[in-house]
C-alpha cells in the first residue's frame, strides 16, 4: 500500500474545510445558500467582531487623512455615477454624440477606438516579467562586480576593507578606521533591478536599494562625518553615532541622521525628493521630522510609512496615487516605456500587489478602477482612457 499517497490524499482533503467554506460563501453571495448555511456563515462572520480593531492603532492625523482620502474618492465616484445617470436620461443625444465620436475617432485614427475594447487576454499574451534581484558594485578602480542571489564569501578588498556576502548581506568590513586613503565604491541598480542584498557599510549602517538607484559611499568612514550619496530610492537603517554624524546627499536634499530608519526617494522624474522617517529622528535641509512624516525639504506631511517602504517588502502599494505616479514606479521595475493616448485620466488608484507578478497582473488590477486601460507592445505600455 502506498502510504505517502494516502497521506497526500488525506492532507489534500484536510484543507477542504476551506474550500467548502468558500462554496458556502459563493452560494450566499448568489442568494442560493440554505437557511442552515446562512446561519452558519453569519455566525462565522460575526466571530471576527472580537478581532483587534485597526482604528485603535491609527494616530489621530492618520485617521483624519484616511477619512478625507476616502471621502474624496467616494465623492469623485458618486459625481461620476450621477453624470452617467444624467446621460442616460438623454438617449437620443447620447446616440448622436456616440456616433459623432465614432466618426471623429475613425477620422483621427480608427485604432484608438478599437483598442479601447482590447480584452485583458492580450495583456497576458504580451506580458512583461517583473524585475529581478541584481545590482552592480563598482570598486574604486572602476572594476565591476555583478551581484546576484546565492553569492557567498569574500568579494573583494578595498584597502583594509574586505567586502563579503554573508547571510544575505553585502558587508563592508573595515578592520580599523585609520590609515586608508578615502576611496569610494558605488552600488547601483538598473531599471528592472533591485539589490539582492542589503548593503552593510563599515559603520554597520544598512541600506536597501530600489530599482534604477545608486549609492556612493567611502569604503571606510575616516572623516568627521559619514557622507554617502544616492540617486533613486534607498532605505536606510543608520547605526547612530553622535560623534560622527551620518549624512545622505540626494537631489536637492541633505538628510542628517539623528538615530534612525528612513527612506529617501530622489528619482529625478518624481516631482520632488522625499524623505520619509520610519523610526527615530532625521534632519532634512535643517527641518527635523518625526516618525511617520515625510518632507520634500520644505513641507512636512504625515504618511503611511508602510506604503512608502512597500518596495522593500517586494510590493507595490498605491493609495490614491495618480496614473503618472503609478506608471513611473512600473517603468522602473518592469523596464518599460510608457505612452499616454488621449486625455490622461484624473482617476486615483488603489492597489497592493507583489512586485513578483508579471505586469499584466498589476495592470489588470489598475483596470478595475474605471477609466483606464492598457496595451502592451514589446516593452512599451500604452495608457488608454
Amino acid at each position: 500500500m502506498d502510504i505517502s499517497g494516502t497521506y497526500r490524499y488525506k492532507r489534500g482533503l484536510m484543507y477542504d474545510n476551506k474550500s467548502e467554506l468558500l462554496k458556502i460563501v459563493k452560494k450566499y453571495l448568489q442568494g442560493k445558500a440554505s437557511p442552515e448555511e446562512k446561519l452558519f456563515l453569519e455566525a462565522y462572520y460575526d466571530f471576527f467582531d472580537s478581532a483587534e480593531k485597526i482604528i485603535d492603532q491609527l494616530l489621530a492625523d492618520e485617521l483624519e487623512l484616511l477619512e478625507s482620502a476616502m471621502e474624496q474618492e467616494i465623492f469623485n465616484r458618486i459625481e461620476l455615477a450621477d453624470q452617467k445617470k444624467t446621460l442616460t436620461l438623454w438617449p437620443t443625444l447620447l446616440k448622436i454624440s456616440a456616433a459623432a465620436s465614432i466618426l471623429i475617432a475613425l477620422s483621427v485614427g480608427g485604432h484608438l477606438l478599437l483598442h479601447q475594447q482590447q480584452p485583458t487576454e492580450t495583456l497576458v499574451k504580451n506580458d512583461i516579467e517583473p524585475g529581478h534581484n541584481q545590482a552592480t558594485l563598482i570598486l574604486a578602480n572602476g572594476k565591476k562586480i555583478i551581484l546576484t542571489r546565492g553569492l557567498n564569501g569574500l568579494l573583494a578588498r578595498q584597502g583594509k576593507t574586505q567586502i563579503h556576502v554573508h547571510q544575505n548581506n553585502i558587508i563592508y568590513d573595515a578592520k580599523n578606521k585609520t590609515g586608508d586613503q578615502i576611496s569610494y565604491n558605488t552600488l547601483s541598480t538598473a531599471k528592472g533591478e533591485q539589490s539582492p542584498y542589503p548593503l552593510i557599510l563599515t559603520d554597520g549602517t544598512k541600506v536597501w536599494l530600489n530599482a534604477e538607484s545608486s549609492i556612493t559611499f567611502p569604503t571606510a568612514f575616516n572623516q568627521k562625518e559619514r557622507i554617502v550619496k544616492i540617486t533613486g530610492e534607498a532605505l536606510f537603517e543608520v547605526a547612530h553615532d553622535p560623534k560622527q554624524p551620518f549624512k545622505v546627499e540626494a537631489a536637492n536634499q541633505t538628510i542628517e541622521d539623528i538615530g534612525t530608519q528612513f527612506d529617501v526617494n530622489a528619482y529625478i522624474d518624481e516631482p520632488a525628493t522625499k524623505t520619509t522617517l520610519i523610526e527615530g529622528s532625521v534632519k532634512v535641509n535643517n527641518i527635523i521630522i518625526k516618525p511617520g512624516q515625510q518632507t520634500d525639504g520644505s513641507h512636512i506631511k504625515t504618511v503611511n510609512t508602510e506604503i512608502v517602504t512597500a518596495w522593500k517588502e517586494g510590493n507595490f502599494h498605491f493609495e490614491g496615487d495618480d496614473i503618472q505616479t503609478v506608471m513611473r514606479q512600473l517603468t522602473r521595475w518592469y523596464n518599460i516605456d510608457v505612452t499616454y493616448q488621449g486625455q490622461i485620466t484624473h482617476e486615483v488608484f488603489y492597489a497592493d500587489i507583489s512586485r513578483n507578478r508579471n505586469i499584466s497582473a498589476v495592470l489588470k488590477l489598475l483596470e478595475k478602477t474605471n477609466g483606464v486601460q492598457f496595451k502592451i507592445e514589446g516593452r512599451r505600455v500604452a495608457v488608454i482612457p
Binding site: 476551506k18 440554505s34 452558519f40 462565522y44 462572520y45 467616494i74 503611511n304
Partner: protein, 193 residues
C-alpha cells in the same frame, strides 16, 4: 454641516433619499470607522478595507432610491458583509476570513476563555448543521452514537470506504473538537432533523 450632526439616522435616511449630499457626508463620517474596522478584522488588509468602505458608500448613494433601508447601521453592515464576502471569494488564496476557518474549528479547547469557547462551539454546531445531509448523518452516528464505520455504512446503505473517507478527511484536532461538541450534548434542533 453642524446641523446635520444633530439629525437622527431616520432623518438622515430621508434626506439621503432626496439626494442631499450633506446628509450623505454625515452618514459617511458617522459610520466609516466602524465599517472600516469590520472589513479590516476580516481581511487584515488596509488597502482592501478602504476599497470595501468606498464601494459600500458609493453603492449607498447610487441605490439610495431603491435600497430598503430599515436602519442605516443595519443596512451598512449588511453591505459591508456582502463586500467582504465578495472580496474573499474573489481572492480566496489570501483571504484571512477563509484561512482562519481551519484554525478556529481545530483550535484547542479554551476552558480559560469560556466566552470564546462558547462561540467556537456554536460555530462548530452551525457548521455541522450546514453540512450536506449524508455527511452530517455520518458525523452524528459516529460521534454521537459511537457506531463503527461498518455499522454506519450498513445503516446508511453506503460503502464503508465512503464512511471512512468522510471521517478521516478532517484533521485530528478538528476530530477532537467534534467529539467534544457531541460530548457536550449540544444537540441543536438542526442536527436532529
Amino acid at each position: 454641516m453642524a446641523k446635520y450632526s444633530t439629525l437622527s439616522d431616520q432623518e438622515l435616511t430621508v434626506l439621503l433619499r432626496e439626494g442631499d449630499r450633506d446628509a450623505f457626508q454625515q452618514i459617511y463620517r458617522k459610520y466609516w470607522q466602524d465599517l472600516y474596522n469590520t472589513a479590516y478584522q476580516r481581511s487584515r488588509d488596509r488597502a482592501l478595507s478602504q476599497d470595501i468602505v468606498q464601494n459600500v458608500f458609493t453603492d449607498l448613494w447610487i441605490r439610495k432610491n431603491v435600497a430598503h433601508i430599515q436602519t442605516l447601521a443595519g443596512y451598512l453592515h449588511q453591505a459591508i458583509r456582502f463586500q467582504v464576502l465578495k472580496q474573499a471569494s474573489r481572492k480566496p488564496l489570501n483571504s484571512i476570513l477563509l484561512d482562519s476557518f481551519e484554525e478556529i474549528i481545530s483550535s484547542s479547547i479554551r476552558t480559560d476563555d469560556p466566552l470564546l469557547e462558547k462561540e467556537i462551539v456554536n460555530i462548530i454546531g452551525l457548521w455541522i448543521g450546514a453540512l450536506p445531509e449524508k455527511r452530517r448523518k455520518i458525523f452524528i452516528l459516529h460521534y454521537q452514537e459511537e457506531l463503527s464505520t461498518n455499522e454506519i455504512a450498513r445503516r446508511l446503505g453506503i460503502s464503508q470506504k465512503t464512511v471512512q473517507n468522510q471521517l478521516s478527511i478532517i484533521s485530528k484536532e478538528f476530530q477532537i473538537r467534534i467529539a467534544h461538541f457531541f460530548s457536550l450534548s449540544l444537540l441543536l434542533a438542526i442536527l436532529l432533523k
